[in-house]
């Protein structure tokens, strides 16, 4: 049974991890925590849903359209809202994303209503036995996608010129601009890509949690926790944070108490942050004089 609880925990943890990647990406470049991330993912997922079930497109085309929509949407949100505030305090920009959260939620409610829909899954939801435990092909698929995305973006940050530019911008906007980095391009691209990441998360999570304007809410909270646990600026950290969170919930819920599992998990996170304020993978900020 322990193996089963761990496997179930990994399955659910990868949902948290997947949603956390997009959050971390934006934070890494712009130091903004995007509270609207989940809602942007939700809107992108609804685009695919609309094409699939209302207009009868095949899954791959709907998913592709959703990704394209997300890229444009993310860029649009940056250009129209965020770029106007780029000289404002980071706090104001974060508050703006909170406002966007409410706007997107409201728009989705008006367009699609609040009754939950079932979203078709990309691959089979049949179960498969791994040792003594059961998991679905779909859950395995999500775990693999999550790990792949993490690796791709980790490599991009580390080894490409764009990645270097992103890191430069996050460290010092002015210096980066003086070196010929276009802020609009870097930020715009980051928003576009992280919204597309959100869309992938949404497309994969919706078949499990059902699609409705609020379906990303509870995942988003855990995604924040996962990101914080991982150090918020580290992609592998966010993924590990998500998985650890999922497994802790599952094991604690099974062996100790389901009533208190969320409470316990968040207590544990506080405990970890008490010992390691920079998170599991975060680097300590040192100010040199």
């Amino acid at each position: 049974m322990l193996w089963q609880t761990i496997l179930s925990g990994l399955a659910v943890g990868s949902l948290y991890a997947l949603s956390a990647i997009g959050l971390v990406l934006i934070f890494k470049t712009s130091n903004i925590v995007n509270f609207a991330q989940g809602q942007m993912a939700m809107l992108s997922t609804f685009v695919a849903f609309q094409m699939l079930t209302r207009w009868g497109f095949p899954y791959w085309l709907a998913a592709l359209a959703s990704l394209v929509f997300a890229l444009v949407f993310g860029f649009f949100v940056y250009i129209v809202f965020l770029s106007r505030l780029k000289r404002a305090e980071v706090l104001s920009q974060i508050i703006l994303t909170l406002g966007l959260y409410l706007v997107f939620r409201g728009v989705a409610g008006v367009l699609w209503g609040n009754v939950p829909f079932t979203m078709p899954a990309a691959v089979s939801t049949n179960t498969v036995h791994i040792g003594s435990a059961v998991v679905t092909w779909y859950q395995l698929f999500i775990m693999i996608v999550t790990l792949l995305l993490m690796l791709v973006f980790y490599a991009m940050f580390r080894y490409t010129k764009t990645g270097l530019a992103m890191r430069a911008v996050s460290q010092n906007q002015q210096a980066a601009r003086l070196m010929g980095v276009s802020l609009t391009r870097i930020y715009g691209a980051t928003w576009a890509v992280s919204t597309a990441l959100g869309a992938i998360a949404g497309l994969l999570i919706a078949p499990i949690l059902f699609l409705s304007p609020s379906f990303m809410d509870s995942v988003a909270v855990k995604a924040f926790a996962a990101a914080v646990l991982g150090g918020f600026s580290s992609l592998p950290g966010a993924v590990l944070g998500g998985l650890v969170l999922g497994v802790m919930e599952s094991v604690f819920g099974f062996y100790i108490s389901t009533d208190l599992k969320s409470t316990f998990v968040f207590l544990l996170i506080i405990g970890i942050l008490y010992v390691r304020p920079q998170g599991l993978f975060g680097t300590r900020e040192v100010k040199k004089v």
């Binding site: 049974m1 089963q4 609880t5 179930s8 925990g9 399955a11 659910v12 949902l15 939620r105 409201g106 409610g109 209503g113 609040n114 009754v115 939950p116 829909f117 079932t118 179960t127 059961v134 679905t136 499990i208 949690l209 059902f210 409705s212 304007p213 609020s214 809410d217 509870s218 995942v219 909270v221 855990k222 999922g246 919930e249 599952s250 819920g253 099974f254 389901t258 009533d259 599992k261 969320s262």
Partner: protein, 443 residues
Amino acid sequence: MQNIRVLAYNATNERVEFKEKWGGQLVKKTLKRSVTALTGLAMAVWSVGGSAAFATTTTKPHAAHHSMKRASYSQGASQTQIVLGTSGPLTGPIAAYGAIAEGENAYFNYVNATGGIHHRKIKLIMLDDQYQPDKAVANARALVSDGIFAAVGTLGTATNQASDPFLLRANIPVTSVATGSSALTVPVVPLRFGLEPTYTLEGHVMTRWAIMHNHIKTIGVFYQNDDFGKEGLNAIIQEAARYHVKVVAKVAYNATDTDFSTYALNMKRAHPQAVFEIGVPEPTAMFEIGMMQLGFHPQQYVTYVSGDPIMFKLAGKAFNGAYTDGWLPLLNSQKTATFRAWFKKTYPNTPPTLLALSGWVDAQVVAHGLAMCGNTLTTTNFIKQMNSIKNWMGADTSSPVTYTPANHFGIDAMYMLQANGKTQQLVPKSGLIFYHQVGSSLN
């Protein structure tokens, strides 16, 4: 010139009337006052222009005043309209339950289109509380200052518990509360009326039926970790104890959970013959899917809160064969034809659900009480008339509605249903099972 003076007099009269009846927000009054004044002015200008049609418009208000003297009114009611209010989760995490307010609205549209209640139109004020008690309280304040005659179908246990005291202190009846919590109907509060069966009644009915008909020996309960889930759980435990049936697992979930596989694992470990599920649709569906994926297939008994055809879509195969219970007729039955037609007319893009039907029924009951009041639309008379509703079958419920001064349950019977996966329909499995048939523990 003569005409203008008469008009001014009329406008003042209306203003005074307004102040007396509404006695509420100053802003509203000034607004209305200026609107009245403006209308008066416009009409005056028009009449000076010499329109013949004007004469007929001036006489009408006078005629209205005469008949009004014979009738008596509490706040919110008048010769021409009755104002009702509701508060529910029109947006937010459980916005699906906003369908209840929509069902109410559809019914009042139907009433207004077919002549109103003794020629009085119903005006429904719908406010959004997102299922949050503090917002529900704010809405109650707003409804009181808007001068409603009664609240109808306000949704939720915690929300009603928070907002009702405010309405009750203002002497405003709270009718058809949209929750099955016994806390709102036991003990009876004279101004507050339930309608849905209580979770206590449901727990007893389902458990006894499962034991009697399906001879179950062990029970597991999956329940929402709040007053709703716990009330159901307690009733199940009580009824099971009566027949020496064991409750081998109690698994609580929280409304914000995302992972239900742990709950399914816990349930599988205890391996009960029947699992009772007292939760809202999405978590219940995820839990059912979780059990199915673990290869655990117990008999399932689902609360009426989630006993909706939407479960076929959410849970898929995992819902097949599940039992549930109901107090409303089936959605595709002849009895609900008017509901379906008018709901579609009011909300063309929203599918009619059982939730919407329950809102429709909430409205039917309060409309019936109002109709019985005749021209004496006072709070006292309304309560008196409501308390005299006996075995009324005029609402689209599957069982009769009854209130007495000592019983504000409304519906006191339910019937069992089973989910048929092939037809994607709920199929009735029993006749009506009444309160008094399941024992004395309910009061």
